[in-house]
Amino acid sequence: MKSLLISIVKTVLLFAVCSNLFAGDDSGREHDAVLEYSENILEIRNDFSATYKVKERICIFNSHGNAYGVIKISDDPEFKLKKFSGRIIDAEGKEIEKKSYSDCDIVCGFSGYVFYSDNCERTYYLLDDNFPYTIEYEYEYQIKSLSSWPAWYPQKYIPVEKSSYTIIAPTGFSFKEQITGDLEKPIVTENKKHTMYVYTALDMPPLKSESFVYSRYEQRARIRFIPSEYSFFGLHFSTDSWVSLSRDGYHLVKDRYLLNDSQKTIIGSLTVPDQNTPEEIINGLHDILRQNIRYVAIEVGIGGWQPTVSCSTLERGYGDCKDLATLYISMLRYANIKSYPALIMAKGKSLTDSGYPSMFFNHMVFFSIIDGDTVWADPTCSHCAMGDLPETDEDIYVLVLDSAGGGLVKTPASTPGDNVYYRTVNISAGRKKELYVKYDVYASGNAMYDIRGYLNYRGKAAIENFLKEGDCGVNGKLKYTDVKVIETEDTRVPDTIIATGIIKRAVKYIKGKQYLSLNCLNVLRPREQIRLADRTMPLDLSYPFSYCDSVVVAIPSGWKPDKLPEPVLYEDDFGGISINFSLHNETIIICCTRKCNNYYIETEQMPAFREHLANIKKSLKSHLSFSKN
């Protein structure tokens, strides 16, 4: 699916260089570097041939700014780098070094999560040790398809004095633009042969680096472009509407559903007449395929867009997202279960705008229709049950590919009741002011997949770290004596983490009384505990969630509980918390439920959300006290 994302990736190359760590405030030399100008010129000959030129000049003030002197440029057959030249200029304006096209490090075939792609990455180093210094560089791409039309991101993590984007197109060439942020319409000039569109941005303030940003590419000034019609590997795409794109995209998948005999045999074994329900067939197929087919992406040429033929994926034993979706769809269709592929832009970087039909997607999922209802699935998530999408795929627009024009639909959303951390804690006080604690944590929905995903991708060896830093909310002061995971083979049944340990000095003795703090469980996730006071971008909460806690406190021998604290009940639009205390034989049982209703918090909601969090924290400031018998 790499190629589907190309238009974004290619055009934010510099942005990617700059987006690591650096932020600053707004006053001149206080910054690590300044982008003095950025000229971007796209010269379109037709929808399958264009030249894209970039020319930039950056003044670098300190060693942090050196990150802007490392120019990483992607290079592949569809988006071919033809020229590069750069130079370093010292503080006196004297040129001290030049770099040409071949003066770079090249890495080919390696591409992040993709096992192999036909993409190379060239790295040019325009660096000096004496500050300030200035770099100038320009490069040129030959573009084979405007499906990967470079977008314009004039805003960086450093101040930008001037940035421009010029499009020179044959007169009559039709395209659409989508403007985000405070950017102006272009100045248009026209002659008989060409029309020129010039977009300009002056004195752009730097972006601020913040964590847990919801759809971070949407939070900055940006213009995306797409032709009204274009060709790609001989296929025609019209961006008039989502329906037309759906029909055009269908040609990518229509002949990919070919089955071999072993696939038919598998389906035959799952479809005993009058016995197996469609749900059982889907689940049975998932159990077989997830054990035999691995998610491995190899993307070469149109292989970045078009799925492998279904039977080849099964024979090969692995495939990328679209290969796996196609494999499932073909076999389910053979079992007479209607199933359709859907292209999505998974959450994290960008969002699909329902008003801007385009092929800005980076992933494929599918859904089946059973009794008029949809069952969604993302087969790259091998630990997810059928019918459960991972949170990155939830509640977003996706394009259904169908010959009749499937159009744009939204994936299902989840509620706090779907994503619950169930935590049971047994506490008993020791003789040296320590607390002996036994945690028992499992979860449902996205919370369950978070735990399972962490354990799958990082391994069980990292479990203590997960308990400390993840969303399970275990007290960071716990010294573990034992941690284990009870795993299940069934994707629908949650794993359980059991941890035992000691929290030292958690018991206080004052004037003949013993006090226990109730803070052995956090009810705020780590992303809710970051500084929100001066935040400028929406906070990504991943998904609505709940904590459902039972804390069982053993009454210390020789002590009796004083009056139990009053129950707590607090609720607002963001969610709420309730805490109840009860006495049962030799234990005090505390039932605590906290829920959060939101996927994300908008910037303007932040003051109210902070107040919400403060009220939640205030609810927990109580102690259990005991007197001697």
Binding site: H64, D105, G109, D129, Y457, G459
Partner: protein, 641 residues
């Protein structure tokens, strides 16, 4: 991409060390292998390498590497470093009989059919992904690579995954003699007398070593050069006996040093006249040797920038003219300038702590060195200088250069040399005055002195940071990980170079500093902890390398509202271990609490055998940082009674 590259590099190292296939038949999986579970001593294993066998065959004209590896996968999602393989090779190398298969639990044998070529600069990779790998599957591959150019390298027994058996064979013509170097391998496994390997029979391999049950190496705090401790064996050809006689490849250190000097350095040092002119101009009006050293050091340190690309410079005049040179060239220039003043200044090759680690003087390999320093001797004073390190200060080497030995370079008298480094007071002094108000909030004024090497980490930040406030906030939030919600009222940072320290001042207001439980106020006076315990792993296989010896001090004064009295001051602690000592003294008077806490470590580097003591020591420091004092309202006469 970084992690990917790390894996590639690891595989690269493994490949060019390789091994031998001794009786392990391809494709025959035993019942025991199918029944394998994660090792008891490594229950979180995502995969185990059942065996990794290599044969390294060397004749006069050919060199081949044969490798056979079998792996059981327990968690396919986290085991991509074994289920996706990148084998490096060079131009002219040829693969022979490369094959790879997945064996599934239900008895299928699935062949890898798709191989792709990747590239990083001049190194090519033959890459493949195993198909249909589920948890419990076994994967296996083998190949022979005929390598065009032989070079000495190592076989790593320790991998990124738990290895049940790693087996290495060197099979060479009996005309070769080798020197074997062991690293991280138990002494009991090292074959006696095998510092020099001589083939005894044509039917026997030259060398064979097997290790079993090897846990993967993992990153740990204060570990120095990780590569220095990964279990491996390496071979250097020391002699080849041809028909026309013996060729010795074992070059003595002095000869190696002399050669380095002749080929790389002599041209620089020979330019005496122009160097003398420059040196004299820098030292004009200076007569005392130490002051001359400092002036010349500062000249190179401040005027000559470090260039990573050595192709740019051809002579010492280029360095001076362009005001830029490689690290080697900067040291050479400094030596030349000092020499021109009649000060004995020699060039010494060293291997830094973080890159090459401990020098093995039995292994005549210049790859053990990566930095050139200038070693100065006058009167009875001697010290090393590294003018290329941006933040090093005269007359001290940067922490990474603080090694015990190096190769002294000379035209005729090169030799291995042991160093003496000048003593330096390192550590931090923390002084805090804390006023707690009636609401449990506090105003805290803290001064931290970073002394000696302890201040090094601040230099770069001071230069780079957009503001003092941001720098101090980063320090409090990320280094100290301060646990309170605080607001900074004022902050400053001052370099006090003449005292070899940096002073950091911060005043902050902390909400919820003290906790009120039924009228008793609890608070922890150590806003800046005495120490955090980062040594959380149960055991450690690598030395603990702090870089330098240091001592830290805390002086804290806490004042509560006048109607409160301290009811529980902290206990006094005196602890002395082999690894360090800790002393905490506390006194209280009415509403005031005063604390003195000092700790120091006894050495810069500790062996893994002392890990338990280090752990215990740091745990005590960590706990002492969290101890809570308590105060109560002064009972008013007749109050409530």
């Amino acid at each position: 991409m970084l992690s990917k590259l790390t894996i590639i590099i690891t595989i690269f190292c493994v490949l060019f060390s390789v091994s031998g296939i001794l009786g392990q038949e391809y494709g025959v999986i035993t019942d025991e292998e199918w029944a394998l579970e994660p090792p008891v001593d490594y229950p979180g294993a995502n995969a185990v390498i059942i065996f990794d066998i290599g044969v390294y065959k060397l004749t006069k004209n050919t060199f081949s590497v044969t490798r056979h590896c079998r792996v059981k996968v327990f968690n396919k999602d986290a085991a991509r470093n074994v289920t996706e393989v990148d084998i490096p090779y060079s131009k002219g190398d040829k693969f022979k009989s490369l094959k790879a298969h997945t064996y599934t639990k239900d008895g299928q044998k699935i062949e890898v059919k798709e191989y792709v070529k990747k590239k990083i600069d001049d190194t090519d990779f033959n890459s493949f992904a195993f198909p249909s790998v589920d948890n419990g599957a076994i994967i296996e591959y083998s190949y022979t690579l005929n390598i065009k150019r032989y070079w000495n390298n190592e076989w790593r027994f320790q991998k990124t995954d738990y290895t049940l058996r790693s087996n290495f064979t060197l099979d060479a013509s009996d005309r070769f003699k080798f020197q074997v170097t062991y690293r991280g391998i138990p002494f009991s496994l090292q074959l006696p007398g095998l510092k020099q390997v001589i083939k005894e029979s044509k039917d026997l391999p030259t060398f064979h070593l097997e290790m079993t049950n090897i846990a993967p190496a993992s990153d740990e705090p204060f570990m120095g050069a990780k590569n220095d401790f990964i279990a491996a064996v390496s071979f250097d050809v020391i002699e080849y006996e041809g028909q026309r006689g013996k060729y010795s490849y074992l070059t003595p250190w002095d000869e190696l040093g002399n050669n380095v000097y002749e080929y790389f350095i002599s041209d620089f040092v020979k330019s005496k006249k122009k160097i003398s002119t420059l040196s004299d101009s820098v030292c004009m009006g200076i007569f005392e040797p130490r002051a001359k050293c400092e002036a010349l050091y500062n000249y190179v340190h401040q005027e000559i920038a470090t260039d990573i690309d050595e192709r740019n410079i051809s002579s010492i005049f280029d360095v001076v003219k362009r005001k830029k040179g490689t690290q080697f060239q900067q040291s050479e220039l400094l030596a030349g300038l000092l020499f021109a003043q009649g000060i004995s200044a020699n060039l010494v090759f060293i291997g830094t702590r973080s890159q090459t680690g401990q020098l093995d003087h039995t292994k005549r390999d210049l790859n053990q060195f990566n930095r050139l320093i200038c070693y100065v001797q006058y009167d009875s004073t001697e010290f090393g200088l590294d003018a290329a390190d941006q933040y090093a200060e005269f007359p001290y080497l940067p922490v990474d250069d603080l090694v015990d030995q190096g190769l002294f370079l000379d035209s005729i008298n090169s030799k291995l040399l042991s160093f003496v480094h000048p003593e330096r007071k390192n550590g931090t002094d923390v002084g805090s005055i804390i006023h707690i108000d009636e609401d449990g909030g506090a105003v805290c004024s803290t001064t931290v002195y970073f002394k000696g090497y302890a201040k090094s980490f601040l230099f770069k930040r001071m230069e780079d940071s957009v503001s003092t406030e941001k720098l101090i906030k980063d320090y409090l939030d990320n280094d100290i990980e301060i646990e309170y919600d605080y607001k900074m009222i004022s902050s400053s940072i001052v370099r006090e170079d003449e005292l070899d320290r940096i002073r950091l001042d911060v005043v902050m207001k902390i909400t919820d500093f003290a906790e009120d439980i039924d009228g008793t106020v609890f608070f922890s006076p150590f806003i800046i902890p005495i120490e955090k315990n980062v040594f959380i792993k149960q055991q450690r296989l690598f030395p603990i390398d702090f870089g330098y010896v240091y001592s830290n001090r805390h002086r804290i004064q806490v004042t509560l509202p006048t109607n409160m009295v301290i009811t529980n001051k902290l206990s006094t602690i005196f602890k002395t271990f082999k690894v360090g000592s800790f002393k905490r003294q506390v006194s209280a008077a009415d509403n005031m609490l005063m604390i003195k806490a000092d700790y120091s470590i006894s050495r810069a580097k500790f062996s893994p055998g002392t890990y338990r003591q280090i752990q215990e020591f740091f745990e005590i420091l960590s706990e002492a940082s969290q101890d809570q004092a308590a105060a109560s309202p002064i009972a008013v006469e007749g109050d409530g009674q």
